[in-house]
């Protein structure tokens, strides 16, 4: 894919980064980063989670200022103080997480910050026609007058790109744009990007998905632990080699060895429907069962009902029809607390929102969710001594890297926070565990540790419902794989047989409903 258009040597590079260093309290996010990005190319940056990619891009976009180093755009030295400076220099950024105001319209989101109009009055009509034209010429069609909250992920992604194009950016930064897209949508996006490249745009592209990177990039820079470790040509490197550059070691694989599935059903979800407020049901007639010793994986594009499924099982979301059984007992009407007490463990998808009290100590986080059970509880009291002791055990057994158990949770890195959560949820001796994105944002060492813990528990008879966006993880860990699409279970697959491509087909609805 390295069809680099011939550029005369006189054209300066679009971006040059020279010795960029950025320190955060306790972390050096970027250290002496150097790279050169050719104008009119797609340049990929790869690296593990936390390697410092987003930080580097935020620096390039003026959102953060480097402690050291120089930035040159089209050969000229620049010092951005705010994103407006970067925008003025022709740089646009699509962030890793959507940066959209839900209660504003698409139009308002797009024009925000560089609004057309005379005398401060917004020229809505002008903006609308410009957005429509822009959308048509780049194949990014969205209705400018809809509220963003009514849009799906794909549309939101398009709005984000339109935002950048609208500002006349010639250098586009895309920070993990494909994380929430299904393969088909990724293909559409790539078509757009190639189109842009042909029109002379420079694209900086960040992704963890190495196949994608190899298919789109003209050049690749690898970042490890905040510093540039290699610049490679996609034509002369394999995904495996790339990965080893990123990690600095062999890749682990989430392969499940032998089956431990029993015939004892632990969790039984029967015909669950959640209507929600707007027309389309959030979940319709979802049926699935998880056996002791079994890992059931749920594949699906974000926003297709996974969150609702988890919340229904945890008792956080009321549902309109159906039943849920835990073992023999009907838990449909049970409170979250009672479900947890009955042996449901929960590794939430967003650990900062649902899993931790960031401003509380580790041992208090150990109590969280277990406040009614031993060892955290003694009558009406919180058993501090026992909780602390058990926290020490978790820190030891799960290799949580922390100065101590009185440290506040926010001081830990994401991976260590995740290990603490996994340790906590396992220590309640659960019968059934919801593991939602258990290794998201976690470095590779911690990743394989968490996988090991899941496997061990599975061997011990734990029933696991695994939700993940990482298809390799899903295929590797699951005994059974369901695909959720538009709130329905559209397929049940054997992870031993399925390919990522086929999975993607079901996930996007490209392949029609089927039960195997």
């Amino acid at each position: 894919m390295s069809t680099s258009s011939d550029t005369p040597a006189t054209v300066p590079p679009a971006v040059e980064l020279d010795g960029i260093t950025k320190r955060f309290p306790g972390v050096v996010a970027n250290h002496d980063i150097r790279m050169t990005i050719r104008a009119g190319s797609v340049h990929a940056i790869v690296g593990e989670n936390g390697a410092g990619k987003s930080t580097l891009m935020k620096i390039l976009y003026g959102m953060q200022r480097p402690d050291e180093g120089r930035i040159r755009i089209n050969g000229e030295d620049v010092a951005f103080r705010t994103p407006s400076d970067a925008i003025a220099a022709g740089i646009g950024m699509v962030h890793q997480h959507f940066m959209l105001a839900d209660n504003l319209t698409v139009l308002e989101n797009i024009v925000l910050g560089s609004e057309p109009g005379k005398g401060g009055i917004l020229d809505t009509a002008g903006a609308r026609s410009r957005i429509t034209r822009l959308g048509e010429s780049h194949g990014l069609r969205v209705d400018p007058d809809r509220l963003v909250e009514d849009l799906g992920v794909g549309d939101r992604q398009r709005v984000e790109i339109l935002k950048v194009l609208y500002r006349g950016a010639r250098i586009l930064i895309l920070d993990e744009p494909t994380a929430v897209l299904v393969p088909q949508e990724v293909e559409e996006l790539f078509a757009n990007l190639r189109d842009l490249k042909d029109q002379g745009f420079t694209v900086i592209f960040i992704s963890h998905k190495l196949d994608e990177v190899l298919s789109i990039a003209d050049a690749i820079t690898v970042i490890r632990r905040g510093t540039t470790v290699a610049s490679v040509d996609p034509g002369s490197v394999t995904a495996r080699q790339l990965a080893e550059l990123m990690v600095g070691s062999e890749l682990p694989t989430p392969e499940t060895r032998e089956s431990t599935v029993t015939d004892r059903v632990v969790l039984d979800v029967r015909d669950v429907t959640v209507r929600g407020t707007a027309g389309r049901p959030l979940l319709s007639d979802v049926t699935l069962s998880v056996h002791a010793g079994e890992v059931v994986g749920i594949a699906g594009v974000e926003g297709n009902g996974q969150t609702e499924l988890i919340e229904v099982i945890m008792g956080l979301l009321p549902f309109d029809e159906g039943r849920i059984l835990l073992g023999e007992e009907d838990i449909t009407t049970w409170s979250t607390l009672r479900r947890r007490e009955a042996g449901i463990g929960y590794i939430p998808e967003d650990r900062h929102r649902q899993g931790l009290l960031l401003e509380a100590s580790l041992w208090e986080n150990r109590v969280l969710g277990h406040q009614t059970r031993k060892p955290a509880r003694k009558g009406i009291w919180v058993n501090r001594a026992a909780s602390r002791k058990d926290t020490e055990r978790i820190v030891r057994e799960y290799d949580v890297r922390t100065p101590g158990i009185d440290t506040l949770a926010l001081a830990l890195s994401g991976g260590n926070q995740q290990k603490l959560i996994v340790g906590r949820e396992m220590s309640g001796e659960p019968r059934f565990l919801i593991a939602a994105h258990p290794t998201r944002g976690v470095d590779i060492g911690a990743q394989s540790a968490i996988w090991d813990h899941l496997r061990t528990a599975r061997a011990g008879g734990l029933a696991v419902l695994l939700i993940s966006a990482d298809l390799d993880e899903l295929i590797g860990l699951s005994d059974n794989l369901y695909v959720i699409y538009g709130g329905r279970m559209v397929a049940r697959l054997d992870p031993g047989q399925v390919t990522p491509e086929k999975l993607g087909g079901y996930m996007t609805g490209a392949i029609a409903e089927e039960r195997s």
Partner: protein, 382 residues
């Protein structure tokens, strides 16, 4: 190395001290602008009088003033700890005070029973009145700040109606204040003057209100409940992260209701020190506004009982200065300015020190971990 908790505490204290100093500086400017000397003002504030009597009176005044403020601060803090803004303490204590004063005047029982009944009635009324915004929030999603503000007005009017109508008591000829019937002596809370007499000091004129003991006890109970019990943990968790608490099985509706009712029940006690210790009835002179001051006291005390006690004493100390300042020909509203600026400065200082200590914590963790990975690696290798 210092334990993390201690370090955080020290930083907080330092921040508070700086804030108080800054507030004093700001007020000094105001005093100078008023054409007086800040030094004179400071002297006046710390001038407790020349005689033992005066000093004892001053101390008793400060304590007597601090008691209701402390209780008010506790009431507010219970809600604040879980980001529940009970602005309605004002209405809750007023209504509780009048009902308790009236009920207490209707019968005569041995003092311990009589007092217990009054206290229980006050807590019940306060709690029930706080239940209204709690239920509205839980069932109808009504913002508790607005609901409690409205309920404050309503409580003021209901209290005015009651004291004038159904609950009114007899009055001496020529007395224009109206009040509920006077409490029987068994409902007069014994004072704590012996505390002074123990040290050979004269008893204060106003008497040291016995409710001080109840307040101290209440402070301990609230501390224990908030810091040591499962309920307290759930309050803290809800305050730090409502979503995490929910996912952990904490029932937010139950928490809102119980925290609000507890807050209201404590609020119900705010009026009792005055009623049981001094006026022996609820009258039209009843001290209003303690609920709002309670918010300030709770903020100063960072929603922790010990801090609230310190803040209440500080406010009591400043309020006492109103008279000596006038003796020194300085406008007494300097006190209000000092109180206002202290609150503002302290909340800002809290914010800064909090951020500093969090950042420090992160850095410390990173530093310590930077030292350990080699060990961890070797362990793995071994």
């Amino acid at each position: 190395m210092m334990p993390a908790g201690l370090q955080r505490t020290l930083l907080t204290l330092a921040g508070a001290a700086v804030a108080v100093l800054l507030a004093v500086a700001v007020s000094s400017v105001a005093i100078l602008a008023a054409g007086a000397s800040p030094v004179t003002a400071l002297e006046a504030m710390f001038d407790f009088g020349d005689t033992q009597n005066q000093v004892v009176n001053a101390i008793a005044f400060i304590l007597n003033r601090a008691v209701p403020l402390f209780i008010a601060g506790l009431a507010v803090a219970i809600g604040f700890r879980m980001n529940l803004f009970n602005i309605g303490v004002e209405g809750q204590y007023r209504l509780a005070a009048i009902v308790a004063a009236f009920v207490g005047s209707q019968f005569v029982l041995p003092a311990p029973i009589q007092l217990t009944v009054i206290v229980v009635v006050a807590m019940l009324v306060g709690g029930l009145y706080a239940l209204i915004p709690a239920v509205l929030k839980v069932t109808r999603g009504v913002n508790e700040v607005i609901a409690t503000i409205m309920l404050n007005y309503i409580a003021t009017n209901i209290a005015a109606f009651l004291v004038r109508g159904p609950f009114t008591g007899e009055r001496a000829a020529g007395q224009l204040t109206i009040s509920t019937p006077e409490l029987p002596e068994s409902a007069w809370f014994p004072n704590l003057n012996f505390l002074f007499e123990m040290f050979g000091l004269p008893a204060p004129r106003s008497g040291l209100w016995g409710f001080l003991a109840v307040a101290v006890l209440l402070g301990v109970v609230v501390w224990v409940v908030l810091e040591r019990t499962r309920f307290g943990f759930e309050v803290k968790a809800s305050g730090l992260s409502a979503s995490a608490a929910l996912a952990s099985g904490v029932n937010p509706k139950r928490m809102v209701i119980s925290a609000m009712v507890l807050s209201g029940a404590v609020a119900g006690l705010i009026g009792l020190p005055e009623i049981l210790g001094r006026t022996h009835s609820y009258g039209s002179n009843f001290t209003a506004g303690l609920g709002f001051l309670g918010i300030a006291v709770a903020l100063l005390g960072r929603n922790k009982p010990v801090g609230i006690a310190v803040a209440a004493l500080l406010f009591g100390f400043l309020d006492r200065a109103a008279a000596p300042l006038q003796f020194a020909d300085i406008p007494p509203s300097v006190v209000a300015i000092i109180q206002g600026t202290i609150v503002l400065m302290v909340v800002i200082a809290n914010e800064i020190t909090n951020r500093m200590s969090l950042r420090h914590e992160e850095r410390r963790a990173a530093r310590q971990l930077a030292a350990t990975p080699s060990q961890a690696k070797t362990e793995v290798a071994a």
